[in-house]
Each structure stands twice: as structure tokens, then as C-alpha cells.
């Protein structure tokens, strides 16, 4: 097992405080100077049921959840003990221990709650035998008893963290600080007592493991944030002050963060009756002069299809979010997938004029949200951020300074009243909202309430002054103008600081192409393979529409074969590349995963090695290699 990193998994029942405990522990590890990356696994259920959070912490950069894990804190599912629950779910007390063993690495450490998990039950899962086979170090501790002695049973989380800190020889100062920030009075006293007592208990243990907390390296302030945090903050800094939505996992996170912050910022958040309304509200708010956003997840986004088209036709700037979960239909609500790409690119009637970005990590989530607003308001076009449950919920540390930027509340191509006075008006005295000066497809807009800016916005084809028209010449002119914007946007994105991210040596002859949240695991796999003597490079693409064509052509041309890695079953991104570039069918293979769990680096390494060895053999992981055309 690797000893230069800690991958700690806390498992229990939903509602047992697994989330908050892990968030605090991750923050404590970050404060001690480590890079951290969290991964959440939870069922679509409020209380009870097996859930865990994994925290990977290392003295070096961490970009993914890693492979397996090396420390299990199994708390027991307290809700499984509720007699009412028995009727529905049976006895699940042992699940936090029994369900997690398969992924525990060799030589790993197990702490389980002796106070909650019966010896007889533990005996039934052959823990002792399996521990011996795998070199695990098992420490049963009465966490429940310890918590009850000094406070309440629910504080057994704290006892578990104390034991963990003791076992990995970690300074508990940062944990104490966090508790002091979050609690007060008797609750704080009790928790501190439990933490310290648990920490001290370890001295009495007959320890056999070697895992210790890694040494940290940061010297600047770090913040621990999820992709949802980053998107919400990107929106705030872009000047977004209107959000409308309907709750749906995992998009709800962004909606919640902005609903809680907007009232203090002079913004408006609206929870509405359905997603059609949500997206239509964003259109209405933007039309009336606000920077507006809405969003959803797969099924909810499906309902947004018609207001999305309306935004395209009326050239109303809006930003939509699509946080993917596994589909089709309601699919797996709490599991990530990258299966909605084609849905987002092509949904709604007619020829699309929309821009789609796919951030690959927390920092990109922030930057591309800002960019999405900028492009939307400069070009009067709906922009969409497509990401997934994984990026929504995973937490990583980012340098605090990264966020130290000026806000950009500019409404883009929107005229002031003074500018309206100088605009060309037709005989009716109406502002020619959709006129075209032949520049970049953009026709500056006015806002209701401005003097002299009256116009009609319509989802029907319309003349430059906004009147409904089925005239053939006008149709072609307007259609070309709307589509021309995409060409100009592509140029702007190509010229700007690149959105595509590369790793590996330029001259490598094997390439990996990925998008979205699979980026971290792919990049880590590339580093690992290069360390092992291969020569491999990767690109993570975020400009999906318009696609980063020239960059992809250059990348594909430079390698013998490229493997497109994505979390879906039908190779949607590979399909997009082949469609847009019109070639390379024989040069692109796919690595696909769609079992509800994100890629681990080792799965990618193994699959690449199979291809590098001539393509013989099947990966051992639940992934699929889809060969190139004619292969």
C-alpha cells in the first residue's frame, strides 16, 4: 500500500452526520497543509441506508479519489436500529462495515464501532479471516459508549475522528479549532472531551499498522470547496443576481447556495412550480435587464428544452446549468454519469445556437461559469454549463488567492438610453432590435423601461424590427446571423486563454481525450503511466459547442491513437468529435464507464495498457473498451 497518502473513508447511515464530520475532518487535514479531495457516496434516501465519504489527503497534488482506500471508520447505521425501519429495510447496522471491505486496500486500517455492531454479526462476515488475507489492521472501539459517557450517542462521530487522529499520529489542534468555530457551550465541551479521550485511548492500543498522516506542504491559505460552490461563486462574481429553479439532485446544491446568498446581495432567487417555468423565468428576468441563471439535472433539463429554444430565437442571454446524474429517465439520482451530453447539445427544435461548456474541476467550474455569463451577455445567446454529480459534490482545496478577482457585472451588448438615442430607428419609431450591421452577428438590445427602446421579442422568426415574418430572404438572413455568432465565439474562445487543459509530454504518441469531471482521474493516470516509462499525454476539453476543433485536430494528428474517456455507455463525446471533425473514426477508441461510480486512475492505467499491448484482453474493472471504427 502507498503510505504517502491517506484515503480515509467514514461510513454510516444517511443522517448520521457523515457529511458534516467528513467536511470538518477534510478541512482539518487541509489546514495541516495537505491537498485533499473528497468523494461522496450516498443513496437516494434521507435517513438510514449505507453512505460513505472518502477523503484523500496527500502532501502532493490530488486530482481524483484515488484507487481504493486505506482507512475505514465504520460507524454503524443508527437508523437501521429504528424498529420502524426494520419493516422496510431489514437490519442494515453492519453495512458500513460489511459493504466497504471490497475496496479497502491491502494493509488498510479498520476502526469499527463495537458499541453498535454486535460481535456475532461481525463474526458472520468473516472479518478476521479477510483481515488476515489482506493484511488489514482491525481496531474495534466502543465509540458509542465513549460518546454516551461524555455527551450524546450522536457524538460517536467525534470519537471516531479522535481515534483516527490517534492512529495516524495526527495533531488534533486543527480539529479542536474547527469544533470551537462550529459549536459552543456544553455541546462543544462534550465533543472536545470525547475527541481528546478517544485520541488518548490510542496510546493504550497495541498498534500494528504503519499508516501515518502525510506531511503537508502548503504555505498559502486554502479553501475547501465543491464544484457547486465554485459555480455559485463564479455566478456571483459574474454579476448574476437572478436564479430560478426547481429542486432536483444534484443541481440543487447551486440553487441552494445562491438562494441563501442572494438576499444579502440584492439579488432574487425563485423556487417555482416546474423546470419549464424555471427556465422561462430566467428568460423573463434577463429580458427585463437582470443577469439570470437557471438549471437542473437530466430529467428537469428535459423540461427546459422549449424555453431554451425561446432564448435562442429571441436572443435573450441566459445561463443554464445541467448537473448530470445517471439516466435514462430518473436513472440513478445520486450517481454521476456523463450521459446527457447529446441531450444538452441538441435538445429543443431547430438548428441550435447555444454555447456549451464542460468544466473539469473546481477551478474550471468557477472560471467557466464567469465565461458562460460573459459569452451569454456579449453575444445574446443561451450558454450551458454541463457537469455532473461528481463535480457537484466533491470537495477539493483551492488557493484562496485564486478567487481574488474583480466582479464582472457587465450586461454585454445591452444599450443605455443614451446609446439608444443614437441607434438607427425605422419609420415606426421602434428600435430595430434585430438589425444587423454585418459585424459579428450581434444586434445590441434594449431593456423594457428604457425610453425609445421598444421592440417585440418573439419565438417566431422575425424581421429586424421584431415582427413575425415567414419571408424567405429575411429567414435566411436572420438564421445566418444567429449562427454566425457561433463562429465568432469559437474564434474568441480560441484566441483567449485556452479552456482545454493538457498534461503529459508533447511528443507522446498515445493520447487520451476526456471531458468534464473524468479529467482528474485521467490526468492522474497519465502521470502514473509516464512515471512507469510509457509516453502518454492527455487533453481535457471544455469547449463542447462550439467544439475546440483546431485544438482537437492538432492533438489527434500528433498521436498514433487516442482514447476518449467518458462516463457513459454510448461514447457520446467521441461521437461529437467525429461528427464535428468529420473524420478520425479509425483513430479514436473509447473507454467507457457507466456503473454509477467515477473512474479510478488504476482502471484507466489498466485499460490503456491493454490498448498499448495491441488491444488483447479485457479490463478487470467494470469499464468497457469500445474499439475504433474498423478495428
Amino acid at each position: 500500500m502507498t503510505t504517502d497518502e491517506l484515503i480515509w473513508r467514514i461510513a454510516g447511515g444517511s443522517g448520521d452526520g457523515i457529511d458534516s464530520t467528513s467536511q470538518n475532518f477534510a478541512t482539518a487535514l487541509m489546514r495541516s497543509g495537505l491537498d485533499v479531495f473528497t468523494h461522496r457516496h450516498y443513496p437516494s434516501r434521507i435517513r438510514g441506508g449505507h453512505t460513505y465519504v472518502e477523503i484523500r489527503a496527500a502532501g502532493h497534488e490530488v486530482q481524483s479519489r484515488g484507487d481504493g482506500y486505506n482507512f475505514l471508520l465504520a460507524l454503524g447505521d443508527s437508523f437501521a436500529r429504528n424498529p420502524q425501519d426494520d419493516a422496510y429495510y431489514g437490519n442494515e447496522e453492519l453495512k458500513p462495515l460489511s459493504e466497504n471491505l471490497d475496496e479497502l486496500n491491502e494493509g488498510g486500517v479498520i476502526v469499527y464501532d463495537e458499541g453498535l455492531l454486535d460481535d456475532e454479526d461481525v463474526a458472520e462476515i468473516d472479518l478476521e479471516e479477510r483481515a488476515e488475507e489482506n493484511g488489514w489492521h482491525v481496531y474495534p472501539v466502543d465509540l458509542r459508549g465513549l460518546a454516551k459517557e461524555h455527551g450524546r450517542e450522536v457524538m460517536r462521530n467525534t470519537a471516531g475522528v479522535g481515534i483516527t487522529a490517534g492512529l495516524i499520529d495526527m495533531d488534533i489542534e486543527h480539529i479542536e479549532d474547527l469544533m470551537e468555530d462550529a459549536m459552543s457551550g456544553d455541546v462543544l465541551e462534550a465533543n472536545l472531551e470525547i475527541l481528546r479521550e478517544a485520541y488518548g485511548m490510542v496510546d493504550e492500543f497495541d498498534t500494528t499498522h504503519e499508516l501515518t498522516v502525510p506531511t503537508g506542504a502548503h504555505d498559502t491559505g486554502q479553501a475547501l470547496l465543491s464544484g457547486s460552490n465554485a459555480i455559485a461563486y463564479g455566478a456571483i462574481d459574474a454579476g448574476c443576481r437572478f436564479i430560478s429553479g426547481y429542486p432536483m439532485t444534484p443541481w440543487t446544491d447551486v440553487f441552494t447556495i445562491l438562494s441563501q446568498n442572494f438576499p444579502d446581495m440584492g439579488g432574487v432567487a425563485e423556487q417555482v412550480e416546474d423546470e419549464i417555468a424555471a427556465a422561462a423565468l430566467a428568460v423573463g428576468a434577463s429580458h427585463a435587464g437582470a443577469k439570470a441563471m437557471s438549471g437542473s439535472s437530466g430529467g428537469g433539463f428535459a423540461l427546459m428544452s422549449e424555453p431554451l429554444g425561446l432564448a435562442e430565437m429571441t436572443e435573450t442571454p441566459i445561463v443554464l446549468l445541467e448537473s448530470m446524474r445517471a439516466g435514462p429517465s430518473t436513472g440513478m439520482p445520486t450517481k454521476p454519469e456523463q450521459g446527457d451530453l447529446e441531450h444538452v447539445l441538441y435538445t429543443s427544435q431547430g438548428d441550435s445556437s447555444r454555447v456549451v461548456f464542460a468544466p473539469g474541476n473546481v477551478e474550471e467550474a468557477y472560471e467557466q461559469t464567469r465565461l458562460a455569463f460573459e459569452i451569454a451577455y456579449d453575444y445574446q445567446i443561451p450558454t450551458i454549463l454541463i457537469y455532473d454529480q461528481k463535480l457537484s459534490g466533491e470537495n477539493t482545496n483551492v488557493d484562496v488567492e485564486f478567487f481574488d478577482r474583480e466582479p464582472a457585472p457587465d450586461l454585454g451588448s445591452t444599450l443605455t438610453e443614451d446609446e439608444l438615442k443614437e441607434a438607427a430607428h425605422d419609420a415606426s419609431g421602434k428600435f430595430e432590435r434585430f438589425s444587423y450591421d454585418g459585424e459579428d452577428g450581434v444586434s445590441p438590445r434594449s431593456i423594457p423601461g428604457q425610453k425609445g427602446g421598444r421592440f417585440l421579442a418573439t419565438g417566431n422568426e422575425h424581421t429586424p424590427s421584431g415582427h413575425i415574418s415567414e419571408d424567405a430572404d429575411n429567414r435566411v438572413l436572420q438564421m445566418n446571423r444567429r449562427l454566425e455568432k457561433l463562429d465568432v465565439i469559437r474564434e474568441e474562445l480560441d484566441e483567449g486563454e485556452t479552456n482545454q487543459t493538457y498534461v503529459g509530454p508533447d511528443d507522446a504518441d498515445y493520447g487520451l481525450i476526456t471531458w468534464g469531471s473524468s479529467q482528474g482521474a485521467v490526468f492522474e493516470a497519465v502521470d502514473r503511466m509516464n512515471d512507469a516509462g510509457h509516453s502518454i499525454k492527455a487533453v481535457s476539453v471544455s469547449d463542447m459547442m462550439p467544439l475546440a476543433e483546431s485544438e482537437l485536430v492538432a492533438f489527434i494528428e500528433s498521436v498514433d491513437e487516442a482514447m476518449v474517456i467518458e462516463m457513459n455507455a454510448t461514447a457520446q463525446f467521441r461521437g461529437l468529435i467525429q461528427k464535428e471533425l468529420g473524420r478520425y473514426g479509425e483513430k479514436l477508441t473509447s473507454l467507457l464507464k457507466y456503473n454509477g461510480n467515477p473512474f479510478e486512475p488504476a482502471e484507466i492505467v489498466e485499460s490503456c495498457e491493454i490498448r498499448l499491448d495491441g488491444g488483447a484482453g479485457e479490463p478487470s474493472a467494470q469499464v468497457r473498451i469500445e474499439p475504433a471504427a474498423g478495428d
Binding site: 423573463g284 427585463a288 450586461l411 438610453e417 423601461g449 417566431n460
Partner: protein, 311 residues
């Protein structure tokens, strides 16, 4: 504020200002009741004192949706059933605008039914005019949610088996604080009701009976009509929810029995509008969100100042 000088422009307004100088050829059939809605609206707006530049008319799809093409104000011709969410958001982004939503019975009570219920429930300060001709017009005469039971159309050739929707009762029960019915054949009443509806602070629902000379030839042309406020036969308190509900029920039943009752049915001046309620709980800023974008001195909060909770 300098960004929206049209708002609060205090001057005499000529009703001709609402007529586009280059008028698009109306696509409504001769004799269509929709002409009357347009006329009544053009008469009512100057009385309310709102200029074309401070008025936003959001329409849905269908014959009624064309209304925004023929009124020279700011307009948004949206999509089937979605005029209300677009209108609500515009009002939230800039509460100083005069926001009117309009649509047909298929558009507003069918596909947009959910939005109608929730807009009324929340009591958004907008006016909602529903052109009710008991039939789908632009798609060529299919049965609509307000078509009488037994109505024969190409899609219900044996006659509709469905009872018609009761729009007034629905508006009241969902929470609208102003509910009225008027008819194209009663222009004076129509204008008065529209003035009241637009001046009302809250969700004002006007069910506007409009005859469809092409597809609903069997429909009574809403003549003779009875104005329940003018008639001695009807005496009820428009501020009393229960009495209003009873009158609405009678009105909605009578329409299919050949009697056309119109008028104000429910007026609740006490209930605060959604905008007011939202402002009271601190969720709607005092100054319109839209104005800040044009204010060079506005201070914009930064996410950087929120980071402490993550460190």
C-alpha cells in the same frame, strides 16, 4: 433612475401611442373577438397612466399570442402556455414595469394551467388576460379546456366527454386577488375592468370572452350579456370570498345554459402582492435588480468575501 427614464414618465398619454405606425397586417379573422381585447387595452393603458415604454406585454401562442404584435409597447411573444413565468420574472427583475400577460384558453388553462395556478397562488403583481373563445383557434378548431361538454371538433368527433374547466373558480381558489370576466361584446365594461385589473396590486385575472367566428360558429356570441354589477338580480359582496365563489359557480354554469354573466367577481385589496411579501421577508431588494446593472457606482459583492467558511 437614469437607466429607465420611461418609468414614471408623468404626462398625458394618447391611446394612438399604442398603435404601431407601421401596423402589421392583423392575422385575426374578420369579426374576431380579439380585436376588442386590443381596443380595450389601448383604451385602458392611458387611463392607468402607463406609457408604451414602461409597459411590457407578454403573450403566449395562438391567435391571442399575436396581441403583442399589434400593441406598440415593449412586447414578448413567448411560447405556448409560458407567458406567465416570463412575465413574473420580468416583474421581479423590475417591479416598476407595468407587466401584462395574455394568452388563450388552450394556452392559459391547458398547457399553461400549472403556471396559472401558481401565479395566482403567489399573487404576483401582474395582470393576466385570458382570451376565452372555448376553442383552439390557430390550430384549426379543436376542443379546448373551456369547450362545453359535447363540443364536436375534428379531434373529438363524437363530442367532448369532458366537463369544461371553470376558470373563475380556479383563479379564485388558487389565490388570485382580483378575478373578473368580461366580453368582447361589452367594450365599456371591458375597458373598465382592464383599468381596475392593471391598477390592482396583486394577481388580477381577467377571463375575456372572445367570439371565434371561424371555428366556434355554434357558440353563442355572448349576447345578450348581463353585467352582474349593473343588474338588480345579483347582489353579492365582491370582497367576500364565499359569495364570490357562489356567483362564479353560477356564472360558469350559466355560460353553458345560454346566459352570459360578466363583471367583477372577487376583489381583495387587503392581500399583499407577492412582491410585497417577498420584500417583507428580505428576498426582494427595494431597488429593482435591473437598475443596478446601469448604475456605475453600484457595489458588487464578491465571492472572495464568502470564502472564510471554506478555510
Amino acid at each position: 433612475m437614469s437607466a429607465f427614464n420611461a418609468i414614471g414618465d408623468d404626462r398625458e398619454i394618447d391611446r394612438d401611442e399604442y398603435t404601431p405606425e407601421v401596423e402589421p397586417q392583423p392575422t385575426w379573422c374578420p369579426g374576431c373577438g380579439d380585436f376588442s381585447v386590443l381596443k380595450a387595452l389601448k383604451q385602458a393603458l392611458p387611463e392607468v397612466g402607463r406609457t408604451p415604454d414602461e409597459t411590457l406585454l407578454v403573450t403566449g401562442i395562438g391567435c391571442s399570442g399575436k396581441l403583442s404584435s399589434y400593441l406598440d409597447s415593449y412586447g414578448f411573444h413567448s411560447i405556448h402556455g409560458r407567458s406567465l413565468p416570463v412575465a413574473r420574472a420580468a416583474k421581479l427583475a423590475n417591479p416598476e414595469l407595468q407587466v401584462i400577460a395574455a394568452g388563450g384558453d388552450g394556452d392559459g388553462y391547458g398547457i399553461g394551467g400549472n403556471h396559472f395556478i401558481h401565479s395566482a397562488r403567489e399573487n404576483h403583481d401582474i395582470t393576466y388576460i385570458v382570451f376565452n373563445n372555448e376553442v383552439f383557434g390557430l390550430t384549426k378548431g379543436q376542443t379546448s379546456p373551456t369547450s362545453p361538454k359535447g363540443h364536436k371538433s375534428k379531434t373529438q368527433p363524437s363530442g367532448s366527454a369532458k366537463d369544461p374547466l371553470r376558470p373563475l373558480s380556479l383563479g379564485l381558489n388558487a389565490g388570485a386577488s382580483y378575478v373578473a370576466r368580461t366580453a368582447a361584446v361589452n367594450p365599456n365594461q371591458a375597458k373598465e375592468i382592464l383599468v381596475e385589473a392593471m391598477e390592482h396590486d396583486g394577481f388580477s385575472h381577467v377571463d375575456f370572452l372572445t367570439q371565434c367566428p371561424t371555428w366556434n360558429k355554434d357558440a353563442r356570441q355572448y349576447v345578450p350579456y348581463v353585467d352582474v354589477q349593473e343588474s338588480d338580480d345579483y347582489d353579492f359582496d365582491v370582497t367576500d370570498r364565499r359569495e364570490a365563489a357562489d356567483m362564479m359557480y353560477e356564472t360558469e354554469s350559466a355560460l353553458y345554459e345560454g346566459t352570459v354573466l360578466t363583471g367583477r367577481y372577487y376583489v381583495d385589496e387587503e392581500r399583499p402582492s407577492y412582491q410585497e411579501e417577498k420584500r417583507a421577508v428580505g428576498e426582494l431588494p427595494d431597488e429593482p435588480v435591473a437598475e443596478r446593472y446601469f448604475d456605475e457606482d453600484a457595489e458588487w459583492e464578491r465571492s472572495y468575501d464568502l470564502l472564510e467558511r471554506h478555510t
